[in-house]
Structures are given as C-alpha cells and as structure tokens.
Amino acid sequence: MTIRTDNRLLDGAPMQSLACRQCGAAVQVRKASWQQTSIQWDEDATNACLERRATGGGACGDVFLGCTALSETIAQAALDGVVTVPDDLYEHEESQ
C-alpha cells in the first residue's frame, strides 16, 4: 500500500526541526494548537534521549510515554515563537 501524507501536513503547518535542550536530540515537531503536539523522532534522537534510556523505554511491555525535557523544550519554543502555533485559526472568547 502507498504510504500517504497526512492532509493536515499538506494543508497546514509542516513539521519543524528542534533540538532538546537537555540531550540535544534533534526531532521534528508540529503544534496545531497550544495543547496539541506531534513529535517525529529518528533513530539518533531516540538513542540520544536520556529520559528514554533511564526508563528502559522501548523494552517489551514497557512503553515510554514521552520525555519531559523535550516537552519543556517544545513548550518554551512555542512561547518564544520558534515553533509556530497557528493561533490565527482561533478567535478569543471568554469561556465559562
């Protein structure tokens, strides 16, 4: 089967490169909103991640939820405008 590209990557923001502040792992990141995050790792990045190593991530029956240092890096990059968050798609409105 042909592997197709996510229509959201074709029509919306692309993935962007970003390096983790803690271990330097270079990953591809995308944020569709402040709360949504996609992270594409490659083999080098996976091997570089210290938290993943510490939890024995990837071992059978032991799934690694995610790296907190990388999450923080992404959150800061979003605040700094390094990773773009398409806030223009959303309109302000006081919620309950």
Binding site: M1, I3, T5, W41, C60
Partner: protein, 397 residues
C-alpha cells in the same frame, strides 16, 4: 508577542470554517492487501484446543488444523493433507501426530509426515506448512510470516502478570466474526472522537506513541452523566478511567485499564485482538481479567469481569455496525482534533512488507498528543443538552 500568546491560553473556541470548498473531495481506496500481516496472532484461549480433538481454524485465507500432541504442545498445520488433500482437522490425534481421516498418514507438529501405517517408507518432501506457536498466559498464539522466517525474540508477546495470578479473575472471553478488512479495527487506536459518538464514552486525554512494532494509545476518560444508568442505592459511582493500550505487532492489543470509583480503583487488563480469516473478514477477540481487591473480593471480581465483558461486547457491536456500512478510505480528511491516522497506517504497513523493505519511517518513534480542549467543550454541551431534554421529557436524569 509573549503576552498575547499567554493571553490566548485563557480560552478560545474554534470558529474557523474552510472557505475554499469549491472542489469535491474524492474518497480513494486501493484494493485490500492480498498478503497477511507478519506477526503473532492470538487464536483464543488455549484451553479450548486441549480437548483431545483437532480443531478447524480458518485464517490467513487458508484452512488450518490446531491440535494438541501427546507431549502437551499445541500445533498448527495447514489443514490439507499433502497426500490426496484430506482435511486433517477432521482427523484424529494419535500420540504426537495428527492422523488424516482419508488414509491415516501421520503428521507431526513440525509439519513432517512421520509415518504411513500401510507403507514401508515415507516419500520425500512429505512436509506440510507449520506455524510456530506460543501457549502463554492461557492463550494460543501463532506466528504468521509470509517470508517463512521464525519469530524474532524482540517481537514476542509480553507476559500478563494478572493472567496467572490468584489475585486476578480468569479470562472472560468473547469472539465475533467481522466481515470487513482488519485495518478498520486498527484505526481505533487513534480515533478519539468515535469513542464519544460510537461508544458513549468521554475521553479527556488522548495520546498516541508508535515505536518499533508497538503502537500505544493513552486515554483517560470521565463518566458520562447522560449515559450512566441510575446508580442503585449503595452502588459505587464510577468517576472515570485511565487506559494504556498497546498493540504488540499487527493484531494483539493489551490494555491496562483502571476504573476509578468513588474512593477506590479497580484494575483490569483488557485484550483486544484479531486474526484475519481472509482479506475481507476477521475474528475479533476480547478477553478481560479483573484484580480482586478488598471491595471486589472473590466472586465479586468475577461478576465485575463478566459485566465488563458484556459491556465490551456491546462496544464491539457498536464498531461492527459502523464497519458494516462504511467504506474503506485511504485518504481520510482529518481535522486537527483527530488522531494520527496516517502515521498509524504508516506504522501498520511494516507488517505487510518483507523485513528487508521495512523503512525507518515505519518504525521510528512518533508521538501525537491530541488537544482535547475543544472536544471536551463540545461534548460537555452535548451531555448537558441530553440531560436537559430528558428532564423536560420527565425522565430521570
């Protein structure tokens, strides 16, 4: 800049509507694959195959025979005898071999013909297809590989501690035949919104991680006030659940599930697995065990497992009803509040190509955390409306 963005976090609603809608979107779908996935597939509880009789299993577009040899081992062979095509699954177990009902040729679990009682010798190439098996935690697994390689150790099915522990119930098991290609069941891994609309649950957190041969779904949910049956006096009030569900390979999912009740948690393990009968049908299995606890000791836990099993079965039926009527779609049109369908299918593709053709993108780690703020807002509203309507109709909330 900084201030503006922080300000945004306070709350917003999506009011965007795409306007350049002048072109009709076409649904695309290639033919279903004729090849079957490489990986471990669960055939069900192993107990069922240990009754001293051979069993017929239709899987991977073939007819298979499952039999327990005298040494206790469960074996899987192509059901059709290489002599003159007799059906071994209608035969008899004799010692360590399955004997064909047609002329009594004896076939061992390794696929070799060991004896022809009426002949002086067995001819050359008297060997039939045999599948490696694994009898673990009360379940029978079979390794399917179109390339014919043995199962690598690193893709083995993880042990389930509760399955062999007295502190947990026995498996409560369900099987159903579903008439569609099995990719539909895989899609559920990433499909958060359908859990609200099809299964009447209420996801509040949703994240996927794909890495190697494992695809995981993290989901937290809250109880839906418009769906919970009126709690009987003294009955525990369900608050929500936490679920970590991983596919180990193409067909076997283990879900570590915690149900949160007022003042206590209940631990369960839910299995969701399938094997293809052919390209357009599969057998869907669910299994559940519940941990016995102070609040749910002995029989109470068994009762709970049975109740949950019924609930899961009705969940299957809800999916099946959708699958029966929907079309296969290779180019789903996703909104940002959908999960990573394309990346999941990219992961799934690794099981349908030769090992040499597995590309890094199929197995490299991918994470997707969904923004549930808008779904939660919309669903809260819907729940409130349902409750208000019911109140207006004079029904209990």
């Amino acid at each position: 800049m900084h201030v503006e963005r922080t300000d945004l976090l306070k709350g917003w609603v999506n009011v965007t509507v795409e306007v350049d809608n002048d072109e009709v979107r076409t649904i695309e779908a290639e033919a279903v694959p004729t090849r079957f996935a490489r990986g471990w597939h669960c055939l069900g509880l192993s107990e069922k195959f240990k009754d001293g009789k051979p069993h017929t299993v239709r899987a991977f577009g073939q007819k298979l025979v499952v039999f327990q040899s005298g040494d206790g081992k469960l074996n899987v062979l192509d059901a059709y005898c290489r002599h003159m095509g007799g059906d071994l699954s209608q035969g008899t177990i004799k010692g360590n071999e399955i004997a064909c009902p047609f002329h009594d040729w004896r076939w061992g679990g390794d696929g070799r013909c060991t004896e022809i009682p009426y002949s002086r010798r067995v001819p050359r190439r008297a060997r039939t297809a045999a599948w490696p098996t694994l009898d673990q935690d009360g379940m029978l697994f079979l390794w399917n590989d179109p390339e014919g390689n043995p199962p690598p150790a690193e893709v083995t099915i993880p042990r389930i501690e509760g399955a062999t522990s007295d502190g947990w119930t026995d498996w409560v098991w369900n099987e159903t035949v579903v008439h569609t290609n099995c990719r539909e069941v895989i899609d559920n891994v990433v499909d958060m919104a359908h859990f609200f609309y099809v299964h009447n649950s209420f996801p509040t957190f949703f994240k996927n991680v794909f890495e190697g041969h494992v695809a995981t779904q993290y989901m937290n949910g809250t109880a839906r006030a418009d769906m919970t049956q009126h709690a009987k006096d003294g009955a525990l009030k369900m608050l929500g659940n936490t679920s970590v569900a991983s596919y180990y390979g193409p067909s076997f999912m283990i879900d570590d599930l915690t149900y949160h009740y007022e003042g206590m948690d209940v631990q369960a393990v839910l299995l969701n697995c399938h094997y293809p009968i052919d390209a357009n049908s599969f057998v869907l299995h669910s299994g559940i065990i519940v941990e016995r606890s102070e609040k749910f000791p002995g029989e109470a836990a068994d009762e709970m497992a049975r109740t949950m099993s019924k609930y899961i079965l009705s969940g299957f039926n809800q999916d099946v009803e959708i699958w029966r009527n929907k079309t296969r779609i290779d180019n789903p049109l996703l909104c940002e509040e959908d999960g990573p369908v394309y990346q999941l299918r990219r992961w799934y593709e690794q099981f349908y190509v030769d090992v040499a053709d597995v590309t890094p993108e199929m197995v490299e780690r991918f994470e997707f955390e969904l923004d549930t703020s808008r779904p939660i807002e919309a669903w809260k509203k819907e729940v409130e409306q349902n409750l208000a309507r019911r109140a207006a109709e004079g029904q209990p909330a």
